[in-house]
């Protein structure tokens, strides 16, 4: 495949008025969602998904991908101006970004954040092309056994990396897998957990689960207390970093890009972890690390670059293997399946126009976001002045509209309502929602590939261990389990000594 020719064809597809419009809408919504605490990109994609059902898959996915990385641009605004992360991946930007704002350098922080995000987004997308294409070609060798083992390994990575408590992350994943068994099974078409409710025949919709857990659940947590946000004022003319600031940040941006892309490509790691790792690296690499936490520009440039390139990295397993690396990419995977597209190596063969248009749109989207986020950031920052008491009813309403418009039925609103309560208590009990959503999307594929692999091997489980790729993936999963278990046992043994001190 000629990569350059395919990419050019992708640009031809994207550079149409409607597709550009969809990219712009996605960037706009993504930025707003990133700025406003209470709604993440995953829930936003799920909410807007039903509204795109009348469209072709290409513009719909362009919009959704734009929301995904647009949120990373927007999240820094709230972190810098309010010291509240607008989005999970912008937590670490609060450390130095807000300090810079207090020093009157808020504009510089916002500017370098946008520039770093842009550079990382472009380089990350280039990385996506050069990793995704050969990986997709390699994964053509995958059969059902390999896919089963890959999903097992991917889910274990998400569980072990994703949350504070491995037990709770595992519980979340198991409940997600259990939800995925609702409906007709792949083997005999038996109706599992349907209880004569016709809507359950097709299973539990991941869209309503995501809207409930991440949308309603988040809003309920935010609405517990009357939220008040005090912002630091930023003048438009102060947005441009000086040449000195850019030179001081250049290595942080490049290091953040590489770290973010590699971490983002790991299922479960995601942009939040990438941004923390980048911050640690920048602090370690600095000659005077005591500046960090007090307004070090590298403390903003590195993590903001990392969280953007992590988005490109996360698209690698999604497009090449069909394995989502995060809640947001799990929703995108579900969306692709609703459109009749199956992410994985065959996507590059059966729908190359779609894939290359999507990749080309990531270049265009980053340009749009840079244009939006530099001059328009004072306007976006004004949205932080909107009292939250008017915002959260709007968010709840949008969730209700999104759920209702799935099938034009109140049933979906009720499902979302139930999972809104579940999502609220999950947040309160520190149970991560990502493993649940990912398991819900991957669970049916896991069962299907298990059944197919055993059917092809006439019932022999050794097929998973005798096929080299499958065996390697299961061995990696086994090593992960052993390593995490050792770590847990060691930390339990060292705990009484720490408590005695």
């Amino acid at each position: 495949m000629d990569i350059f020719a395919s990419l050019m064809q992708g640009f031809v597809t994207v550079l149409t008025p409607f597709n550009l419009w969809m990219a712009t809408i996605g960037c706009f919504f993504g930025t707003i969602v990133g700025i406003l605490p209470g709604l993440g990109p995953g829930a936003t994609i799920a909410i807007l998904l039903p509204l795109t059902f009348g469209m072709n898959a290409t513009p719909a996915m362009i919009m959704m991908t734009s929301i995904y990385y647009g949120a990373k641009y927007g999240g820094s605004t709230t972190s810098i101006l309010v010291n509240v992360p607008g989005e999970g991946a912008s937590v670490v930007t609060c450390f130095d970004g807000y300090a810079m704002a207090r020093q009157g350098r808020g504009g510089v922080a916002l500017g370098i954040s946008a520039i770093g995000s842009f550079v990382a987004g472009i380089l990350g997308t280039i990385g996506l092309i050069f990793v995704c294409v050969p990986l997709a070609a390699f994964s053509l060798k995958f059969g059902p056994a390999e896919y089963f083992s890959l999903i097992v390994m991917g889910m274990l990575t998400i569980v072990f990396v994703g949350g504070k408590s491995v037990v709770k992350s595992l519980m979340s994943a198991v409940v997600g897998l259990a939800l995925g068994t609702v409906g007709s099974d792949v083997v005999q078409g038996a109706r599992r957990f349907v209880y004569d409710i016709p809507q359950l025949m097709d299973g539990v919709s991941f869209v309503t689960v995501v809207m409930g857990v991440f949308g309603i659940g988040e809003v309920l947590v935010s609405a517990e207390e009357r939220m008040k946000m005090k912002t630091v004022d930023v003048k438009f003319k102060n947005l441009w970093p000086s040449m000195r600031d850019i030179l001081d940040s250049k290595w942080a941006i490049l290091r953040g890009t590489v770290v973010g892309f590699l971490v983002g490509a790991l299922p479960g790691a995601g942009s939040t972890i990438a941004s923390f790792i980048s911050y640690g690296i920048e602090k370690g690499a600095a000659k005077d690390p005591e500046r960090f936490g007090k307004g070090a520009i590298e403390g903003v440039a590195g993590p903001e670059s990392a969280n953007n390139s992590a988005c490109s990295g996360a698209m690698v397993p999604l497009l090449a293997l069909g394995i989502p690396g995060s809640g947001a990419t799990a929703v995108m995977l579900g969306a692709l399946m609703l459109y009749g597209l199956r992410p994985g190596p065959m996507l590059f063969t059966t729908s190359p126009d779609f894939v290359w248009a999507l990749i080309a749109s990531m270049f265009i989207g980053n340009i749009i976001l840079l244009i939006m986020n530099l001059p328009m950031v004072p306007l976006f920052a004004m949205s932080l002045r909107l009292p939250y008491r008017y915002l959260y009813p709007a968010i709840l309403l949008i969730c209700i509209v999104g759920a209702f418009s799935l099938n034009g039925s109140v049933y979906d609103v009720w499902v979302m309502w139930i999972f809104g309560i579940v999502g609220y208590f999950m947040k309160k009990y520190d149970i991560p929602g990502g493993p649940l959503v990912i398991a819900l999307v991957l669970g049916p594929m896991l069962e299907y590939n298990l059944y197919r692999a055993l059917a092809l091997s006439l019932g022999s489980v050794w097929t998973f261990f005798t096929r080299p790729i499958s065996a390697t993936l299961l061995a990696m999963a086994g090593i992960m389990i052993i390593a995490v278990s050792f770590k847990a046992i060691r930390s339990k043994r060292s705990m009484p000594e720490e408590e005695d001190e």
Binding site: V175, I216, R389, L396, L397, S405, Y429
Partner: protein, 153 residues
Amino acid sequence: MKKGDRVLSIICMGLSLWLIIESLQFDYLSEFGPGPGFEPFWLGILLAILSIALFIDTVRRRSDKEGAKSCLPGWKALGRVGLIMLIMAGFALSLNTLGFFVTVFLFVSLILFTLEEVGILKSMFYGIMFSASVFLIFSYGMEINFPKGFFGI
């Protein structure tokens, strides 16, 4: 958090027992591989093991430090959350009877008036604004059909 984890482990244990019992209704194996009862059965077992592990962890854990926060907020905050969910449930129940736009108006007005202590007239004003916005953006702009209900709107 210790008490909360204990409650969580008991709930998940109940869920796991339900999964196991329900899965016994289906075939465990099929001709070559797992049957429809296979996956839910083992998920139930796994969830039971995890619930026991979490429960044992709460028993072995030392008592929460004095002043440690409970995972749930105070009654006032829980009341706010409960009221929001109640109003949302009311929305879903009255959607087909009253129609979408009337329900949106009532939903927004109620939330602002009861929870956010916005005056009644102001709440109704915002209710109308939100209802009009939903109509313009979703019904007119995106041509989504919403139920019309008793009032025909």
